[in-house]
């Protein structure tokens, strides 16, 4: 058995620590060690997108890196989206309005993917959003609600002018 190491990282602005073996995946560390179970673990090979978190400002698969690699990193997870008084993030409200989820398993990854997609781009078309959101698999909605919610979110963030869809 290899030795466990101390891992300290900033999650949603809060400094958290735990211990991990070198082989512990970041997603398992978040869920089992830090007890942040909002990030889901699905396919474990980077295809489904359920485990997507924002790492150092960019969306990344937390099943495809080791927790020890995230030591010192800044991570945002689904738990950090709603305000501290429990008000939903604008994108979360849009997901509810547009029926962009049913079972909810893919939703944390979809939200983190959409936030990266919209916030790191100056202008997006609906086609860009469809391409970008293809990073996540949803087996319930048929994607229309998800695309509509993200299109609306892009409008809110960039305004009608920057949104060419």
């Amino acid at each position: 058995m290899t030795q466990r190491m101390q891992v300290t990282l900033s999650v949603n602005g809060e400094t958290l620590s735990g211990s991990a073996e070198p082989r512990t995946l970041l997603v398992d560390f978040l869920r089992d060690e830090l007890r942040l179970t909002g990030t889901h673990v699905g396919c474990e090979h980077g295809v489904c997108g359920a485990c997507t978190v924002i790492l150092g400002g960019f969306a990344a698969r937390s099943c495809l890196m080791f927790a020890v690699q995230a030591d010192g990193a800044e991570i945002q997870t689904i738990e950090g989206l709603a305000s501290s008084v429990g008000e939903m993030h604008p994108l979360q409200k849009l997901f509810a309005e547009h029926r962009a989820l049913q079972c909810g398993f893919c939703t944390p990854g979809m939200l983190m993917t959409a936030i990266d997609l919209v916030q790191t781009s100056n202008s997006l078309t609906e086609a860009d959003i469809r391409t970008g959101m293809s990073a996540g698999l949803c087996r319930c909605t048929g994607y229309e609600g998800i695309v509509n919610a993200v299109v609306e979110y892009a409008r809110q963030v960039h305004g009608e002018k920057a949104f060419n869809g």
């Binding site: 082989r23 474990e44 990073a135």
Partner: protein
Amino acid sequence: MKPASFSRLVPTTVPEAIKMMGDHTHDARLLAGGQSLVPMMNFRLARPAVLVDLNCIPDLSYIDDRGDLLAIGAMTRQREIENSDLVRTACPLVHDATLNIAHLPIRSRGTIGGSISNADPAAEYPATMLALDAVLVAQSVRGTRQIDAADFFDGVLTTTLEADEILTEIRIPKAPANSGAAFVELSRRRGDFALAGVAAQVTLDAGKIAEVQLAACGVGPSPVRLRDAEDRIRGAGLTEDALSKAREAASSAVDPDGDVHATADYRRKLAGVMTGRAVQKAAARAGGQA
């Protein structure tokens, strides 16, 4: 599943990494972006005893303008390459190929050196490097070696790198004036491994194809340089006849295997279709009317 146990070594300089690979030649693997190796470890298809993690070597992440070529550090993330204006203007084929790699969150972590060294038959960068005659720089305790892309890929997930060598830099000739580039691929779902893909760079002169560079992925154990297709259309105009010759030559040049996703015949045909589309798109970007 979860990965088997391993020891992780964390070099912070290239000489340190080279020494570690020299000391652990037979039981270590290099960890770059991890977007292919970690899935293989999760499924225990790979069980390295030692991982030499290259993610803490800042000297391996850069995009340098060196006159006639771009030099890209092996640990440069695909996302950084995708967002680089320098890459988009100097090596547009590399930019276009990058957009075809998996999905945005994968490109956030995936690296150019990792993709090239992993040598997946369906991967975009190996075919792109082959089409552009890139030079791959490898380092080990025995010194530094420059390997032509044409001599680098050696079968499924296999390269001519020695077990203790580290790919450190990729040198890519800049695109000539009046050229255009396109990477075109077809996959069953967006972001999946391509059934077939073609990288094309076309240089026009007075409406004719003065130079053309083509390579295919997904249609054999290694990427294939489509020399015959290039020869058939070099000097030709952008006519349907020329495109048809290129398609035919590309299909004849590849020898794909069939699998659950597509038969061998379908893939062979697709190599031709993708070649035609890639040449057309590249020529259009070069200012032609194809």
